[in-house]
C-alpha cells in the first residue's frame, strides 16, 4: 500500500524474473534505483540471501524437468488453450501451450543458451526486402547499429562464449566474444563438416555457457542435461548473472509465488501507481512504484494487458510469432553420444540469407522471397523421451538398446522466421480458467505460407547434409505440424517452440503499435515492457540476446543514463 507520506514502496516494480526482468533489475539497481521483482513461480535458481549461491534444486533428472513440470507452469494449474483459427471453435487443445518456464529465471532457466545477435537487415526487412502479402511485416523503429553496443553489453553481462571469425553472415561487431567457444560435440562435428562440404557455413554457436571461469561461475562440465533442464553448477549465465548482480546491490527484492493480476492506474489513466498481486495463499497485496516494468514474456504480458484493458486494443495480443521449426532427423550406423555436451554446439545461418535456389522456390510459392532461420546442429533427447516415442510391444526393448532415436540420432532444428500476421494472436479463453481464477491465455495460430514454403525447401537440403554426414536414413517434420502430415494428430497441434514473440509490438505510431521505440506503453507515462512482446518481427534467430540488449537500452533510458556507444569499428 502507498505509505502515508506519499512515497512508494520502490522506484520500480518488475513483473517477471526472466532475462527481460532480470536485465532491467540489474541496470536499474546499478543506477541506484530500488526494485521489487514479482515472480509467479517458485524459486529454484539461487538463494535470495547473500552470497546468492545456487540452491541445489537443479539436477540431471529427466522425470522432474521433462515429465513433471518442475519449473512450471503446471498445465493443470495454469492451462493455456490453442486453436488454429476462429472456425475451430473456442479451442482445439487445452494444456501445455508454449510453456516457457514460470520460475525465478523464467525462460532463461531451461534454455541451452544459444545467444546469437540478429543481422542488420532484420531491423529493416520490409524496406529492404519488401512486403509480403498476408503478413503485417514492419521495420523495427531503430537499426542494428544503434543496438550493437547493447548486444556487446548483453554478451559481457550474461557471459557468451563464441568465435567472431567463423560466421560469414554475422552482423558487424566491435568486440570479440568475452569467452572462447566450449568443446565441440562429436555429432555436431560430423554434421558441420558435411555442411561445409556441401557449401554451407556452419560455425560454433555463441552460447551463454561458460567455457572458462567467468564472473565467479565455473566452466561448463558438459553434463548434457542442458536444453530443457537447468544448470546444476551455475555455468550458464542467463539469467542467474543479472539477478545475482542486482541482488548484490542490496536494492533488489524478489517476491516469489506472487501472481500479478492487475496494474493500478491513477485517476487520469495516464500513470500507473503500482500493481496488485496474489500470494501463495491467494491473499491480495499491492506494491506501489514510480514505474512498472512488464517482463512476464510474450505470452503473459499481453494476457495481463488484456485483463487490465491497457494498451491499444486493436494491437495487443496480435502478430503473435513463434519460430516455425523444421526438424530434420538423421539416424547413424554408430553411436554419437549426444548426451555429452551442451545440447547444441554448432549453428548455421544459410537459410536466413536466401540463395538463388531459395529465391526460385519462393517465387514458385508466390512469394518474392522467404527466410528460414538458424539451423541448430544438435543431438536427440534423453531416454524417457526416446522410449515414449518408440513403439510398444515386442520390438521395443531391442530398439531401446540400438537407440536409433537417441544415441544414434542427430537433429537439425531450423528456427524459421515466422511472419507477423494479425489473426495470429493471444486472447483470453472465454471459459477455461487458471487456479487463480483468471481467464486462461488462448493462442490462435496458423503459419503463413512463407513458413511452409521455406520449410519444404530447406528440409530436403538439410536431409542431404545428414546423409553426407553419414546418416543411414533421414526424415523431417515441423512444429507446429503441417496440416494433414503424419505429425498432425489431436493433442499435438500447438507449436512446441518456446520462442514467443511480437504480441504487443513497439513502433512509432500509437495506432499500429502498443509500445513506443523506448518500449514505453503508448499514452501512459510510466509503464515499459522489456520482453519479446515488443519485437516487431521474429527473425530467424533465438530471441534471448536481443531481449537482453533491448532491456539494457530501455532500462538505461528509463534511468536517464547516456546511450551506449560501440567500442570501435567492426572487427
Amino acid at each position: 500500500m502507498p505509505s502515508p507520506t506519499g512515497t512508494t514502496d520502490c522506484d520500480v516494480v518488475i513483473v517477471g524474473t526472466g532475462p527481460a526482468g532480470a536485465t532491467a533489475a540489474e541496470v536499474l539497481t546499478a543506477a541506484g534505483w530500488s526494485v521489487i521483482m514479482l515472480e509467479k513461480g517458485r524459486n529454484h535458481l539461487l538463494s535470495l540471501e547473500a552470497p546468492f549461491d545456487p540452491l541445489g534444486h537443479v539436477s540431471n533428472d529427466e522425470i522432474k524437468f521433462l515429465r513433471r513440470h518442475y519449473l512450471g507452469p503446471d498445465p493443470f494449474l495454469e492451462p493455456r488453450t490453442f486453436r488454429r483459427r476462429e472456425s475451430d471453435g473456442d479451442r482445439l487443445f487445452t494444456g501445455d501451450v508454449n510453456n516457457l518456464p514460470s520460475t525465478v529465471g523464467g525462460g532463461g532457466f531451461h534454455a541451452d543458451g544459444k545467444l546469437p545477435r540478429f543481422r542488420e537487415v532484420d531491423f529493416h526487412a520490409r524496406s529492404e526486402l519488401g512486403p509480403i502479402e498476408g503478413a503485417d511485416l514492419v521495420d523495427w523503429p531503430f537499426g542494428y547499429d544503434e543496438l550493437e553496443p547493447y548486444y556487446a553489453a548483453a554478451e559481457r553481462g550474461v557471459g557468451v562464449a563464441g568465435d567472431h571469425t567463423e560466421n560469414p553472415f554475422a552482423a558487424w561487431r566491435a568486440d570479440p566474444y568475452p569467452m572462447p567457444p566450449g568443446p565441440d560435440m562429436f555429432c555436431a562435428l560430423l554434421t558441420s563438416d558435411a555442411a561445409t562440404k556441401l557449401g554451407y557455413h556452419p560455425y560454433r554457436a555463441p552460447t551463454g555457457v561458460n567455457s572458462v571461469v567467468f564472473d565467479g561461475r565455473p566452466a561448463c562440465n558438459n553434463c548434457g542435461f542442458c536444453g530443457s533442464f537447468g544448470c546444476p553448477i551455475d555455468a550458464k549465465g542467463d539469467p542467474v548473472a543479472p539477478l545475482r548482480h542486482a541482488l548484490r546491490t542490496g536494492r533488489c527484492e524478489i517476491r516469489t509465488e506472487s501472481i500479478v493480476h492487475d496494474v493500478v492506474m491513477d485517476s487520469t489513466g495516464r500513470r500507473a501507481r503500482g500493481v496488485r498481486y496474489l500470494d501463495a495463499d491467494l491473499v491480495e497485496h499491492e506494491v506501489s512504484a514510480k514505474h512498472v516494468i512488464l517482463a512476464g514474456g510474450a505470452f503473459e504480458t499481453p494476457r495481463l494487458l488484456l485483463r487490465t484493458g491497457l494498451g491499444n486494443p486493436d494491437v495487443v495480443g496480435r502478430n503473435l510469432m513463434f519460430h516455425f521449426q523444421t526438424i530434420v532427423l538423421g539416424v547413424f550406423p554408430y553411436r554419437l553420444h549426444g548426451h555429452r555436451g551442451r545440447s547444441v554446439t554448432h549453428l548455421m545461418d544459410d537459410p536466413i540469407v536466401p540463395d538463388d535456389a531459395a529465391l526460385a522456390a519462393a517465387r514458385d510459392a508466390g512469394l518474392s522471397y522467404f527466410r528460414g532461420g538458424i539451423v541448430e546442429h544438435g543431438a536427440a533427447g534423453h531416454p524417457v523421451t526416446e522410449g515414449i516415442h518408440l513403439p510398444r510391444g515386442a520390438a521395443h526393448s531391442q530398439m531401446m538398446i540400438e537407440s536409433m532415436m537417441r544415441d544414434r540420432m542427430a537433429v537439425f532444428t531450423m528456427q524459421g522466421e515466422d511472419l507477423p500476421v494479425a489473426s495470429n494472436r493471444i486472447d483470453l479463453d472465454p471459459h477455461v480458467r487458471d487456479v487463480y481464477g483468471l481467464p486462461a491465455g488462448r493462442v490462435t495460430y496458423s503459419p503463413h505460407r512463407h513458413e511452409l514454403a521455406c520449410a519444404e525447401h530447406w528440409a530436403p537440403r538439410l536431409e542431404s547434409v545428414m546423409r553426407e554426414a553419414g546418416a543411414d536414413f533421414t526424415f523431417w517434420t515441423t512444429s507446429p505440424p503441417m496440416e494433414g502430415s503424419f505429425a498432425d494428430r489431436p493433442g499435438f497441434v500447438a507449436p512446441i517452440s518456446r520462442h514467443i514473440i511480437g504480441s504487443a509490438r513497439m513502433g512509432t505510431d500509437p495506432s499500429t503499435s502498443v509500445f513506443d521505440p523506448w518500449q514505453r506503453l503508448h499514452g501512459v507515462e510510466n509503464i515499459i515492457c522489456t520482453d519479446s512482446s515488443v519485437f516487431p518481427t521474429s527473425t530467424g534467430y533465438g530471441p534471448t540476446l536481443t531481449i537482453v540488449a533491448l532491456a539494457i537500452r530501455a532500462a538505461r533510458a528509463l534511468a536517464g543514463l547516456d546511450p551506449l556507444r560501440s567500442s570501435g569499428p567492426a572487427l
Partner: protein
C-alpha cells in the same frame, strides 16, 4: 519385487505387471545387452510410487538435487522436495482425482490416475495373469487410453532416475548404454568431441 508397495495390492501389482510386460517385454536372454521387461525394470514399482506419492511426506513427486552420488558429490536425489500448496493441489488432483472438491474443479471434474488404474485393472480381469499373450493384448487393446498411460508411465519408470522407484540401481540405463546423471563429474572435452 523388492520395494514396499504403497498403493497397489499384491494382486493388482501382478495384473499391472503382466499388462506392462506385454508393452515392454525383456529382450531375449541370449543378446549381449539384456534389456529387462517392464516388471524387472521396476516400471510397476515406479507406478506404485507415483500413485502412492502422498503416502509419505514429502510426497514422491520431485526428487532432490543437485547430485545422486552416482557420479560423485553427496547423494541427494532420494530426499524428495516439499511441494508448494499449489503443486500439492495439482499432483493430488492428478493422482486422486478431484473428488468433488471445489478447489480441484476450477475447470471441471478430474478423474485421477488411481481411479483410472483401478478401473482398468478390473476390466483386465482377475484372470488376466493366466491368459495367453494374444488374449492379454486383446483386453489391453479394449482400453487404448489406459494402455497409452501405462506405456508412458512404464517408460518413465524404466528410463528415469532410480530414486523414483524403477530402473533398479540404474540397471536399465546400463542395458541401453546410457550413463544417467553425471554431475558433478560431467564429461571431459575429449569425451564430448571424440568418437569413442
Amino acid at each position: 519385487m523388492t520395494l514396499q508397495l504403497r498403493f497397489f495390492t499384491d494382486a493388482e501389482f501382478e495384473i499391472v505387471s503382466a499388462a506392462a510386460e506385454r508393452l515392454i517385454p525383456a529382450t531375449a536372454s541370449d543378446t549381449a545387452n539384456n534389456h529387462p521387461g517392464a516388471r524387472a525394470g521396476g516400471a510397476i514399482d515406479y507406478i506404485d510410487r507415483l500413485l502412492g506419492a502422498f503416502a509419505v511426506d514429502p510426497p514422491l513427486v520431485f526428487a532432490g538435487g543437485p547430485f545422486s552420488g552416482r557420479a560423485g558429490g553427496t547423494a541427494s536425489f532420494a530426499d524428495f522436495t516439499p511441494l508448494s500448496p499449489f503443486e500439492e493441489l495439482a499432483w493430488r488432483t492428478r493422482i486422486e482425482g478431484s473428488s468433488g472438491l471445489v478447489e480441484r474443479e476450477f475447470n471441471g471434474p478430474v478423474i485421477g490416475w488411481q481411479e483410472r488404474y483401478r478401473e482398468a485393472i478390473a476390466m483386465l480381469g482377475e484372470d488376466f495373469t493366466t491368459l495367453d499373450g494374444e488374449e492379454q493384448d486383446r483386453r489391453l487393446g479394449a482400453q487404448p487410453e489406459f494402455r497409452e498411460m501405462l506405456y508412458t508411465h512404464s517408460c518413465e519408470g524404466l528410463y528415469g532416475a532410480p530414486e523414483y522407484g524403477g530402473n533398479p540401481d540404474g540397471s536399465v540405463w546400463g542395458a541401453i548404454d546410457f550413463p544417467g546423471d553425471v554431475q558433478p563429474r560431467g564429461y571431459t572435452d575429449d569425451e564430448v568431441s571424440g568418437r569413442a
